[in-house]
Symmetry: C2
């Protein structure tokens, strides 16, 4: 089942998703954005899509309209956009409830949330991206499932309430674990040490954690309740109060959870 799809938004998700949908055999009819240059950065990756700077889609041939914009922008765009009859409007956010699309001119609404971290500098293999889907309309949900299946082997039906929990969990698993690497990089750089030294440890830590589960995989001074080392480390970090506080709080949480 091939769809005609319009993409609203020109950020990282739109940038990766639009060409992937085309590669899967769908047609991208339009790409909407506020800025001509941003629109073109997407349309030039596509065969047929037209750039569009206004929100009147009443003449569009698309059936599915994907809002791939920042969380704050979803509600305003959903209210403003003029959609044709029988159209489906979905957003791609992990944090915004389905109800927010309820005031739009769409006949049907849904969520089409790819659980992945998108950066323009790096290609994405969509076949391994889990798609989290939601709709109150059964036929719409089936269509979203077929759309997701055309891109990926992983689809899940997730209610908005669970999607919020999942999004919080994703922030810890992705953004916060990445920030731990960032702090590590900065400690090494400050000392003039090569961060490459740390890479085998990071790769082994994450592989082990995914295999054994994080609880069983934990090592280090906090899980050993090695208070002497914890104190030496905390003192070492006294040049950055906030990072020292992060050290203390996470160590305490590790101690408390064994």
């Amino acid at each position: 089942m091939k769809f005609k799809i319009a993409i609203l938004g020109t950020g990282n998700v739109a940038w990766h998703l639009a060409p992937a949908l085309e590669d899967a055999g769908h047609t991208i009819t339009e790409v909407f954005g506020r800025d001509r240059e941003n629109i073109e950065s997407i349309t030039k990756r596509l065969y047929t899509a037209e750039g569009k700077e206004d929100l009147d889609f009443s003449e569009s041939e698309a059936e599915i309209f994907i809002l791939a914009v920042s969380d704050q922008a979803i509600s305003g765009l959903a209210d403003e956009v003029i959609l044709p009859e029988e159209s489906i409007l979905v957003h791609t956010s992990g944090a915004v409830p389905l109800e927010i699309l309820g005031y739009s001119s769409a006949s049907y609404t849904g969520i089409f949330y790819p659980l992945q971290s998108f950066s323009k500098d790096r290609p994405i293999d969509f076949s391994e991206v889990p798609f989290l889907l939601e709709s109150e309309d059964g036929t719409t949900l089936q269509k979203l499932k077929k759309l997701a299946k055309s891109l990926s082997t992983l689809q899940y039906l997730i209610k908005s309430k669970d999607r919020l929990a999942l999004h919080v969990a994703a922030v810890f698993a992705s953004n916060f674990s990445n920030h731990m690497l960032r702090i590590s990089e900065e400690i090494m750089a400050r000392q003039g040490l090569d961060f490459d030294m740390m890479k085998p440890l990071i790769i082994e830590t994450i592989s082990k954690s995914l295999e054994l589960g994080a609880r069983k995989a934990q090592t280090g001074p906090a899980v050993r309740s090695d208070f002497n080392t914890l104190e030496i480390h905390h003192q070492f970090l006294n040049y950055n109060e906030q990072v020292a506080e992060i050290y203390k709080l996470i160590s305490q949480d590790i101690i408390d959870s064994y």
Copy 2:
């Protein structure tokens, strides 16, 4: 150059290191421990090593004595152990300075620190483990370098001062990133959601971070200064005050560092 080596300690590092040293052609003469069962858990992985419950090594044929024990135990064991003439005593810790071995009966002292996270449940490929080496004696350092080279392609000469920084950096990169996965697992479990959903995101996040650097790789609500989502997430976590505080503090640190 093949060495005769005694291992003092029966923990995770000893458990992995002793057989790896034997595989590299060295001879393990003795394994010291306080508990017969723990000693045997190591010696039964080895061809020739004798178990030993006392610290009189004056008759040992070993040249290199590796203290692979918890940080707190290093100093006491180093003071107590009776070593033969011309022996080299090293420890394997990231956090303990070289000077602590200065009161031992060893002729030479050093550090032989494998920068890796060791768990008994999981085999280690030593060829990719960075060995961080230190000694004030040039010949000893050469021997430690040869020993490390027989196990791994990665050796670094690191002073105690830098080794402390490196150990703090390793705690963030390994123990703390693993704890972020642990919190994520718990949020998912509490909601009855399958953590497998999160795995492609984690693998992509870490791969991207190692390729682009963590600063450039960051995504999510904090780096976008999406205060609305941050607030919703923080409220969601109100069932666990400490985790809510971790959420707030790390988000603030991400915001502050862009």
